[in-house]
Subunit: 92 residues, 4 copies
Amino acid sequence: MTHTIDDKQKLLARVRRIRGQVEAVERALEADADCGRVMHLLASTRAAMSGLMAEVVEDHVRSHLVDAEKHPGALDEEAVEQLLGVVRTYMK
Amino acid sequence: MTHTIDDKQKLLARVRRIRGQVEAVERALEADADCGRVMHLLASTRAAMSGLMAEVVEDHVRSHLVDAEKHPGALDEEAVEQLLGVVRTYMK
Amino acid sequence: MTHTIDDKQKLLARVRRIRGQVEAVERALEADADCGRVMHLLASTRAAMSGLMAEVVEDHVRSHLVDAEKHPGALDEEAVEQLLGVVRTYMK
Amino acid sequence: MTHTIDDKQKLLARVRRIRGQVEAVERALEADADCGRVMHLLASTRAAMSGLMAEVVEDHVRSHLVDAEKHPGALDEEAVEQLLGVVRTYMK
């Protein structure tokens, strides 16, 4: 999916952190933690997941909407930035 | 912003409907309508606004990310559909 | 809906500001403003609407879930704060 | 957190399913699945998490806002339903 080993490692690190957060929710439920704590953990987990989603979408827009080898320079950078600005706002 | 008169008229009709919905919220508050009604009106208005946002984003992606005259065929249709699928899900 | 004249005036001021924002979107579309500007205006309008929604929900929780005259002290303040913390996070 | 063994088991089953979904995202990234697939998996996972959040919030509202033993009948059922209607809409 991603184009560089680095990007892949970064995304994997993020998704593993999210898995850890989901496991924390699971442990909190098992331990009968109070509702407030469970809601707080869930809200953080969802925020982390939205952040990951925004990053994957950004990667998708930059890498896949246009084949840069066949159509170099075709992607309008300013329009991309405007789109990603909206995406980041909505996926927070 | 839009490329055809038709698209523009469609978006304008949508935004005017949203203005009408906001005015209905205003009237409900002025008339001391109950909270439940105000929350319901606000939820519908927000949904309408998200729908409009999704349409404007779609228009933006299809029309502005690539200058189709200079780079015909550069925009990958499948990748666009994948992106818009996510956008629609998030902007509901 | 609200319990004091002040609260009502505050909510009305907010909803009128939102109406003004929707009208700005309308004018931007009429004037063929660029997509980026329209998306930006829409995002701000939606954020303002979410903020209003969070306030109405808060008012609803504090004023209507329990009839304070019949059941004084029945509403658990800490549980209310936990709930509203989540509501504010989600309605941003 | 929850009041019955059944509720707890139901929530635990949900959070474990979500963990499985996060693991599927991880595997997809490791296997260099295409962006579209990763975005689709992430969107489903986030939807499942929002559904769980809505359920925990509902549980919180029904069980913790009012101590039903000390203040029986204090929670206004209609107002609760109006609140939860909004919560479900926003947490989808």
